[in-house]
């Protein structure tokens, strides 16, 4: 009966193909939405994990979050080096990781930072060691894989944060790859890490003994008196508001992790009110961004289900017409000895196979379109889209399509039970 169902499908290839295409388009749209939305949320959550606050230059808080955590947008500007010490002295702060941005190598951002940045994402070295001396760099897993770079590989960074958007190459300051990180599934995979001092050197910014100056190796003042620290901060904050615009060593942003909840209450308001810097909370900005995207995603999802319903309706109409047109055929099958159940099964099998092929094609098209889009639009690559990574939700979409196919075939198939063989054969003869 399965081969008979296939024969009927082959017999009207155009209608069958169009029905499959309709369902495939619906499944593809749903698959794309599912993969894009879940991977986006997953990536955003994972990339922001362990970062309670981002401190940077005044501007859009969302831009600050996008540029500092997700490495997607242009930074809002630079902030004074003294801000690192100011935050590290705060007893409510557990960790401060500075970021100095500005260069890229073949589109991959070069981030001046400290070794602790890799620790934020629990990254481990796949080979080599962390950067230490001037000019040393550690590559993220994806960077190394895509560029085919190995240990000892030398490269020259370009000014700017995107491929081709730079103002020139820094030939006098080549980097040497001393380490390659294991894949973390985070933004780290697509970054090249080096020391902040190296970034300053590359840009010809004079500096000296910065490590000691901003207390890089010092433990936070765990036992400092809260009030004393607060008074110190106010002094520092005043100094920071006055130092803006000077051509001195600066950083782009600071990733901050609190030691306790008191930090979340006090630090952001202190920075926003008393300094020229801004503090942005990743959780708030990410939620805002996702809620904005969510409206579009929900709208598109509704459209996709509508498309699926149209596909189901099309199968229904096609099979209803087909069973009407081949009523005599079905009667002949019954006369040849096929039971009602077998003939019913043949019609149901047509609906099922149409839905199965449509569903399979849809999933394939969905992943392919996403892969093509990821290759074509760098923003998708920037958020770490994995177009071929399957999602359990795809099984649910596939199952829903099968249900639609079966439901659409049910009424035409039930007509088999109503066929009056003698009358049908009399009409046919």
């Amino acid at each position: 009966m399965l081969s008979l169902a296939l024969a009927y499908m082959r017999d009207r290839q155009l209608a069958t193909g169009l029905n499959m295409l309709l369902l495939a388009l619906a499944v593809a749209t749903l698959t794309i939405l599912l993969l894009a939305s879940t991977q986006l949320v997953d990536r955003m959550t994972r990339n922001a994990q362990g970062i309670d606050l981002v401190v940077g230059a005044k501007g859009s808080p969302l831009q600050l979050i996008l540029s500092s955590i997700y490495q997607m947008d242009q930074p809002t500007g630079n902030i004074p080096l003294a801000s690192i010490d100011m935050l590290r002295r705060d007893p409510a702060v557990a960790q401060v990781v500075p970021l100095a941005l500005g260069d890229n190598f073949r589109g991959y951002r070069i981030v001046g930072t400290e070794a602790s940045y890799a620790g934020v994402y629990g990254a481990q070295l796949a080979s080599g060691r962390m950067f230490d001396e001037h000019g040393e760099a550690v590559m993220g897993a994806e960077v190394a894989a895509k560029l085919g770079a190995g240990l000892g590989q030398k490269f020259v960074g370009s000014h700017g944060l995107g491929d081709g958007g730079g103002a020139g190459e820094h030939h006098s300051h080549p980097f040497t790859t001393v380490g390659i990180l294991r894949s973390t599934g985070t933004v780290l995979d697509r970054l090249i890490l080096t020391s902040v001092e190296t970034v300053w050197d590359v840009h010809g910014i004079a500096h000296e003994g910065e490590g000691q100056q901003h207390g890089e190796s010092e433990e936070p003042h765990e036992h400092a008196d809260e009030q004393e620290a607060h008074a110190e901060q106010e002094h520092d904050a005043q100094a920071l508001t006055e130092s803006g615009g000077q051509l001195t060593p600066e950083v782009t942003a600071l990733l901050v992790r609190y030691r306790n909840a008191a930090g979340a209450i006090r630090i952001p308001s202190m920075i926003n009110r008393q300094t020229d810097m801004q503090a942005a909370v990743p959780a708030i900005e990410t939620t805002r961004l996702l809620s904005l995207l969510g409206v579009g995603i929900e709208g598109a999802r509704l459209f996709a289900w509508l498309l699926a319903a149209v596909g189901g309706l099309s199968i229904f109409v096609t099979l209803l017409n087909a069973t009407n047109a081949r009523e005599a055929d079905l009667a002949l099958l019954r006369v040849m000895g096929a039971t009602r159940a077998r003939v019913f099964g043949t019609v149901m099998a047509e609906g099922l196979m149409t839905a199965l092929v449509g569903g399979f094609l849809g999933v394939l098209i969905g992943h392919s379109v996403l892969a093509a889009a990821t290759r074509s639009f760098s923003a998708l690559g920037d958020i770490g889209m994995q177009p071929w990574q399957p999602h359990p939700g795809e099984l649910a979409i596939f199952g829903a399509m099968v249900a639609i196919g079966l439901a659409a075939a049910l009424i035409p198939a039930l007509r088999v039970f109503k066929i009056d063989l003698a009358a049908t054969l009399a009409r046919a003869s």
Partner: protein
Amino acid sequence: MTAVLAARDLSKAFGATSILSGASFELQSGEHLLLLGPSGSGKSTLINLVTGLLTPDTGEIVIAGEPMSSLGPTARDDLRRRRIGIIFQTLRLVSALSVRANLRLAQKLSHGQVDDVEIDRLLEALGVAHRANAKPRAMSQGEVQRAAIARALVGRPDLLVADEPTSALDDANAERIAQLLIETARSQGSTLLIATHDQRLRPFIPNSLTLGCSAREAT
């Protein structure tokens, strides 16, 4: 010896119109019968009763010892599947399948298995081996009717029932189909019952039963 087909005192009416009344006849194994009569004489009704597609108002039909008329729909389908092959005037083959696929399906439905050697032998015997892979719509009327005979016989039925098998054919094709029907039925050991108003078949099957316009008398 058990008759392959025994029809006893059959009556059938549709509403107030009596189509058949008291029709009785028997066919032994290998025996052939021509069921003659003009259109509306009740030939097709009788064929439908014999094949279990209709239930008689009175009387009974027994196929190879099994009472067709008193069985339920499912058992009737099963008896028809095992014992009877049917050929119609225009409804001959499943349209979406090739001739060979039609025969394979018929064999599968009848016996649950496929015998390609038997299919080839039948197609050869009926002169349509060269059209084995063609679909019905690509064949001539005569070719399709010969393929339909093969389809009906491939299950090796005890009783082969043909309803107007030659009415749509020209003289040459009608003669050829008649001869093939008789020859293949004989070689298969099947009993043949042909309902027709086509007088061209009379010379091939002398044994006949004529139904009148009112379908009330049998000769």
